[in-house]
Symmetry: C2
Amino acid sequence: MGARFDDLATPFLYVDLDRMKRNIDAMAAAARELSVQLRPHAKTHKVPEIARLQIAAGASGVTLAKVSEAEVFADAGIDDLFLAYQIVSPAQLERVIRLARRTRLRCAVDSRDGAERLSRAAKDGGVELQVMLEIDLGIERTGVRAGVEAFDLAQRVADLPGLRLIGVYGFRGFRAFADGAESREAWGRAEGEALVSAAADLRAIGLPIVEVSAGSTPTAVPAGSVRGVTEIRPGQYLFGCANVVAQGAMRAEDVALFARATVISRPAEDRAVVDAGSKTLSTDGPWEPGRGFGYLASDPSTRVAGLWEEHGVLRLAENARRLRVGDRVSIVPNHVCTAVNLHDRLVAIHDDRVEVVWTIAARGRIE
Amino acid sequence: MGARFDDLATPFLYVDLDRMKRNIDAMAAAARELSVQLRPHAKTHKVPEIARLQIAAGASGVTLAKVSEAEVFADAGIDDLFLAYQIVSPAQLERVIRLARRTRLRCAVDSRDGAERLSRAAKDGGVELQVMLEIDLGIERTGVRAGVEAFDLAQRVADLPGLRLIGVYGFRGFRAFADGAESREAWGRAEGEALVSAAADLRAIGLPIVEVSAGSTPTAVPAGSVRGVTEIRPGQYLFGCANVVAQGAMRAEDVALFARATVISRPAEDRAVVDAGSKTLSTDGPWEPGRGFGYLASDPSTRVAGLWEEHGVLRLAENARRLRVGDRVSIVPNHVCTAVNLHDRLVAIHDDRVEVVWTIAARGRIE
């Protein structure tokens, strides 16, 4: 790379390579210690080169949400994919079948309609699809409830041609202490336990559930520590962001991804405006209310208090008031996944030098 | 275009061409009636072909926020640009100078530092730059306060080589009734009056202020109706979105942009999950708290109550409960500008047929 870090036009996202590699290694080590497979959710970075680093460190493959996203990773040679998303449209089902012919692929179902569509596509395509049943872990999104609903659907999947039911999965995120003062560890263990229990119920009616897949960055380790969980799927752990730090799931000094921005206006003693707004950082809110839209890496008490499309308004703490028009700063966004999705490139630095610029190849691959 | 609307993989954004053209014509007619220039903010659509339609209907040019965005429009032959943003970095200032050589360009300043940087770049580049002074209209973003601050900066700009001060501009948005039960009309008039007053003050000390530029979609018409305002800069008016409708600035039946999505899960009687999440609609919140992240075009009482990266959770009103897995729906996003910025293409339909698919050429041009 010829470009010097300080010459790159702002705003842009950059990664501290050493920190990222440490984060990748630490999660891989944690998974080995817990004897669970690690299948990172690659929607966080959307960069096949990074998926290769995760796999080299011990990940079994990657998790993805959309068919088009999975195609990008398959094209780059990543050949063990969990498409943790309900695919129901005929044209997209055809693409799933093509993916299944060239990769190890796991699909997701949470409804009879969806299972029947997947089965028809598999039959027509002459392939057998491995299927994971999504269990609703109480977040009111997708998934079937454990118990009668799960029995019925699992039995239906098992009966349908072209499908092979292999496991259950779920996502619970981490909703703070909304449901009664639980710690992150207790919250994560409850996620693992709910999935293990759902799997046991299905085995009791004779279904061969071998995979029990849990976790997100805040819950991966506690969920993975539950006996019977076989796989964890954290996404954000390699980069971190303000929300993951606020959740207590990573230390601030391990955050590896930043937005680089320039001060364009200094309208008041305690206010600087930078050229990174919601089209750079995303509008995703703070995990704890009232904490703005990210913070200054060099002074975490200085927050992005206001956010417009192309303006980030920093409320400057005492230490940051020396900032002048033209100064460049690094900002930790609230939510790294949605920030990355806004960018075409990710600059990777080592010792303050640009080591590589990755194309965010699956950016915008939402279909 | 060969592709049939119902065959396009979801999620995607589409525009109802007839409605969009009506909206473009209506704002152009309003500006003519008020005898003000119309310079739409093209960050809303980021599509040069659409800018051409706006100009053909009577717009004098377009407004843009970033240099890279302006370059895309200049490359497409749009040659009258207001870069309503403080450009302060040396490399970006060089790009501004190159733009000034090939287009009619207006620049923005709100600080002495910024003005001096702009002046040096203009002098070094051998061009004269037309400059608009940004007035702070109370939203605590960029801009100088009217009065002493504005006098000082305007005088400095007038004295600096390479710069020609031609006007003032501001942005106030519409913050509901936060500041004391004002109507949208009163709020917009106050915006226009503040700018006209700031311009009059500067003329009183001998500065040749000829342009007074106001407005956003909710305030453009009331601000433009203030005697002395010469230009309005609405952006969202051609598409509309849930927030603009909630502001009373457009009728729901004039909304021209929608996200097309597919129901992927039907976990409960009153819940459907679609494949359009925050990476399709953006996380921008509702103008009025508690109204979710958009609504179903066919049944506005059905809202996107929950939003994840790739999931939109519809809380189904009675009329929408017939929705099944695989059904396709149209959703009105909260904020059209940030939604468009997530997409590479914009499908334009006429009589339910795909008429053209535009490339969102300035998508992601944030530097």
